[in-house]
């Protein structure tokens, strides 16, 4: 049986000066390679902080760690964070890493789902643990009603034809399907960014209080993490190996082919493209886009403004080398 819940957790976040516990919002994988690299290369130590990285389990997410005081910093989807703020969790964004949406729908070519409208009435797999807001908002915009099937983490139900469409991350499940023997030309893909929902994803979040009290530690963390990402971008083989090593340690199925793909795509997501922002900066337009998704999703007005939500700790972020 899968006993993912029984994971020994580290001690509670100390709250001590110079020590931070960081919880990424998913299991170990190349999506977080920049942080692993920063730690492995000693960038955090060089910045004068010690960092512990803990991962969520199938049933405990990163937000829970934060609420339970087990983590000081967490990474989250922008929409998930807005959702948490909406639910009166007093958190702020201190750095927006991802600048684009990687969410997409995938259907098998032979399933007959050729357009987003063909999904009407179909079974669509979606993560049970969150990230639902943007896909739901997308289908709502196109007035397509589907039967959502919550899925924990694998693509097996989709492969076996148990669902017609699967919501996937370009950097993750999409490639897992490919690495299960489905050729790319056997799939229809629908990038949500092509449907007006290019909402950025991974960002770094802390309690507003932490932001106030521990600004220098947080700045050190963000700067060292960005350095980690830059290093990962320039040493992709190394970053992939490091990630696989960490995954093996956690007994999570892993292989270089998939993690290399993931690293490449996550780095692409961090590309700023034409936006007038610096790395780790949240674009006000993206904020508004995410707010409108959340407001539509919960049918409630979102009160905090951009300045309250986005409180960067790195004032002038140096130019990123990430391609």
């Amino acid at each position: 049986m899968v006993w993912l819940l029984v994971v020994s957790l580290p001690a509670e976040a100390s709250g001590k000066e110079g020590h931070l516990v960081f919880a990424p919002h998913w299991l170990p994988q190349a999506q977080f390679a920049g942080y692993y690299v920063a730690q492995d290369q000693g960038f955090y130590e060089e910045a004068g902080i010690t960092v512990d990285i803990i991962h969520p389990t199938a049933s405990v997410n990163a937000m829970q760690y934060l609420l339970d005081g087990k983590a000081d910093i967490i990474s989250m989807f922008l929409t998930s964070a807005l959702d948490a703020v909406q639910k009166e969790a007093n958190i702020v964004n201190i750095g927006q890493l991802s600048q684009h949406s990687a969410i997409m729908f995938v259907s098998m070519k032979d399933s007959g789902v050729e357009s987003i409208y063909d999904m009407e009435g179909k079974k669509v797999g979606i993560w049970k643990s969150g990230f639902r807001e943007v896909p739901v908002a997308t289908l709502e915009k196109y007035e397509v009603e589907v039967e959502w099937v919550p899925i924990l983490s694998t693509v097996n139900l989709f492969l076996l034809g148990g669902i017609d469409v699967m919501t996937v991350m370009w950097y993750n499940e999409y490639n897992q399907i490919y690495l299960s023997g489905i050729d790319r030309d056997e799939m229809n893909t629908f990038f949500l960014s092509d449907y007006g929902f290019d909402v950025p994803e991974d960002g770094l979040y802390v309690f507003e209080e932490t932001r106030k009290n521990r600004e220098s530690d947080l700045r050190a963390f963000v700067e060292a993490s960005l350095r980690g990402w830059e290093y990962a971008a320039q040493n992709r083989e190394y970053a992939t190996r490091l990630t696989v090593q960490i995954m093996r340690g956690a007994n999570i199925p892993s292989n270089h082919a998939h993690q290399r793909w993931m690293l490449n795509k996550v780095l692409e997501m961090q590309c700023i493209s034409i936006k007038e922002v610096k790395p780790s900066e949240l674009h006000p337009g993206d904020f508004e886009k995410a707010v409108s998704v959340i407001e539509r999703f919960y049918d409630r007005e979102f009160t905090p403004g951009y300045r309250e939500f986005f409180q960067p700790v790195v004032p002038a972020v140096k130019k990123s080398n990430i391609p």
Partner: protein, 639 residues
């Protein structure tokens, strides 16, 4: 040592070349066919091996699969009290050593008193069986593959391999069977019955398969993920598809896709940077898992390579031996040839009695020997003949030399001939083509006022001609004593020569009698080339051509005579046809025209110099070409 240019070397190299070519062709053919046979044999072996392994695994999996099926049926019958279910699971695990764990997981609120989450699980822990009930939302099993997939697909499901953390910390796969129950007259999904298979244990079974030294067997899941593999880090982590990417070996993706479609195949594959392998893969019968057997190409064809190497070594050894023996045989057979060569050289040196090599065989060498022997005899005989002939020839030549001396002594050759005769300045020469020739000239004083001169050319050449010439000259002297006019001298001479002239020889003859006081020249010409008159005024002209026939043909022929007046300083140039007809190698004649040119050019010279210049001109024309006719010239100046 065999010499490079020897006959035996050439024969052996050619024979070796052909033998080696044949040998290479035969070995290549042998290798190709043997390789095909081995490949076919391996293919059959692989099919059988994979079949056996599949059977062995099916024998484990199928009874295992029966267990949750039985549990599901039992649940559907609804006869068992919920509290007895755990002991059934414990018994199942305890009684089935192949089963690592077994579970019953129920839909929310299936048992009203058990709540939303209700799952019973028994599993092996060393020798004991451990059991537990999971009934909190902490373990949200409804969305796990082993539960959700069979629930939605409504059919049994073998999970992908995964790591079971918490209970046993082992790699496993779970087989799940959905069960249903009647509620409100409706058949509804009620839950899942499972058994767990420990992959370590399955790996041990599959690892028992021995294929040569480093061949191996492994199993893949439906997704192509390693279920068992000798490299245990592959299990759960890597798949045919991920390795296809990592190793840049698209063929592995083809293998994975074949298996997804239930296709079995025996094929070779080559991962960049690694040894070539052969693989046979097939699916299990009960699920889309597969069994593959891998044969290293190097080991598969090791015996063939060994045999081929041995074959090459033996044949090379054989060829070496063949070379040695053949060269010995050929050397021995060809040895008489060398001896014959020596004999031939000795014979060439003139030793015809040399002993020929002994030939005991009755083959071509014997023929050569006989031919040599015959040649030896023929040569000896020929040389004897040659010696005799040469001796005879030498004798004749010596006689001819004497004859020439006699002949030359018959014509005057003292110049100037008449130192006390100032009116006549004369020079003459005779150059024979052969040892003795047929040309002649003569001059003498008849009385103190008459000067007689003659030039002639006897038909034919050699001894007969010279004899005829000697006769002619002797007769001329005799007749000129009695006769005074040229015509009568000619007629008398003709009569004498024609008389009894059985051999029909003749002589062209020009005879002149010059009156030394008056300069009047009386002459008669019997078919001879007309002489040239060089006037003291520089005028050069020829006498008119002769109208009379040569001497010696008709006894009674009447010869005429003519007169011409010579002035002081006039010159006469008489010659035979050897001058005008002197030939060079291109068969171009010297010619009268050329002769007249030389005469004209040398008209102021005295007779001797005129003749020398003519001789030089002829020599320049003829160069080295052998002289074919006698050359005779005579020049006279009257003063």
């Amino acid at each position: 040592m065999i010499k490079k240019n020897s006959l035996s070397f050439r024969i052996i190299t050619r024979v070796l070349l052909i033998t080696i070519t044949l040998f290479v062709l035969i070995m290549a053919g042998y290798y190709y066919y043997a390789r095909n046979i081995i490949r076919e044999y391996t293919r059959q072996n692989a099919i059988e091996l994979a079949g056996n392994l599949t059977g062995k695994i099916e024998q484990i999996l199928q009874p295992m699969e029966k267990v949750p099926q039985m549990l599901a049926s039992t649940m559907e019958m609804g006869l068992i009290h919920p509290d007895s279910l755990m002991s059934i699971l414990e018994t199942v695990v305890r009684k089935n050593p192949t089963i690592y764990g077994s579970a019953l997981a129920f839909e929310p609120d299936f048992f009203p008193d058990k709540g939303t989450y209700h799952m019973l699980y028994a599993h092996r822990e060393g020798d004991r069986v451990h059991s537990m009930t999971l009934d909190t939302e902490e373990y949200d099993y409804f969305y796990m593959d082993w539960y959700q997939i069979p629930a939605i697909l409504k059919e049994p499901y073998w999970s992908e391999p995964y790591y079971d953390e918490g209970a046993g910390n082992i790699l496993m796969a779970t087989y799940s069977v959905p069960f249903y129950c009647l509620r409100d007259g409706e058949r509804r999904f009620a839950g899942i019955a499972t058994v767990d298979l420990e992959l370590e244990w399955l790996t041990d079974i599959v690892s028992q398969v021995q294929i040569f030294e480093t061949g191996y067997a492994f199993m893949l899941s439906r997704n192509g993920v390693a279920v068992t593999h000798p490299d245990r880090t592959m299990i759960m982590n890597k798949s045919a598809f991920s390795n296809a990417e990592e190793w840049n070996a698209p063929i592995l993706r083809e293998v994975g896709r074949d298996l997804l479609q239930g296709i079995s195949r025996f094929r070779e594959y080559h991962i960049p940077g690694r040894d070539k392998l052969w693989i046979y893969y097939r699916n299990l019968e009960s699920n889309l898992w597969s069994v593959s057997v891998v044969y290293p190409d190097r080991e598969m064809f090791a015996s063939l390579r060994q045999m081929t190497t041995m074959g090459v070594v033996f044949i090379l050894g054989g060829l070496l031996l063949l070379t040695l023996i053949t060269s010995g045989v050929i050397e021995r057979l060809a040895k008489p040839l060398t001896l014959f060569a020596g004999s031939a050289r000795t014979i060439a040196e003139g030793n015809f009695d040399v002993k020929l090599p002994t030939v005991s065989t009755n083959d071509e060498m014997k023929e050569l020997h006989d031919a040599f022997s015959h040649m030896q005899e023929e040569l000896a005989e020929y040389v004897v003949n040659l010696k005799e002939t040469t001796a005879a020839k030498e004798k004749i030549e010596s006689e001819l030399r004497i004859a020439r001396e006699i002949q030359l002594s018959m014509i005057p050759h003292t110049f100037p001939p008449f130192p006390d005769l100032p009116q006549v300045c004369l020079y003459a020469m005779l150059k024979s083509a052969r040892e003795v020739g047929g040309d002649l000239y003569d001059f003498f004083v008849i009385d103190k006022d008459k000067f007689c001169f003659a030039i002639g050319d006897v038909s034919g050449k050699g001894v007969p001609a010279s004899l005829f010439m000697a006769v002619t000259r002797t007769l001329l002297r005799t007749i000129a004593d009695k006769e005074q006019s040229p015509a009568s001298i000619m007629e008398t001479l003709n009569k004498s020569l024609a008389f009894n002239n059985e051999s029909n020889m003749f002589v062209t003859f020009f005879l002149g009698v010059l009156d030394l006081r008056t300069g009047k020249l009386m002459y008669s010409n019997a078919g001879h080339n007309p002489p040239v008159v060089i006037g003291s005024n520089g005028n050069v002209s020829m006498f008119e051509a002769a109208k009379s026939i040569p001497l010696g043909l008709f006894e009674d022929f009447i010869y005429t005579e003519h007169a011409v007046q010579l002035n002081s300083g006039d010159k006469l140039f008489a010659y035979t046809d050897g001058v005008s007809e002197a030939e060079n190698k291109r068969e171009v004649l010297f010619g009268e025209e050329r002769m007249l040119e030389i005469v004209d050019a040398g008209k102021h010279l005295d007779p001797k110099d005129l003749i020398k210049s003519m001789e030089e001109a002829i020599d320049n024309h003829v160069v080295d070409y052998p002289q074919s006719d006698d050359i005779t010239m005579m020049a006279i100046r009257y003063t």
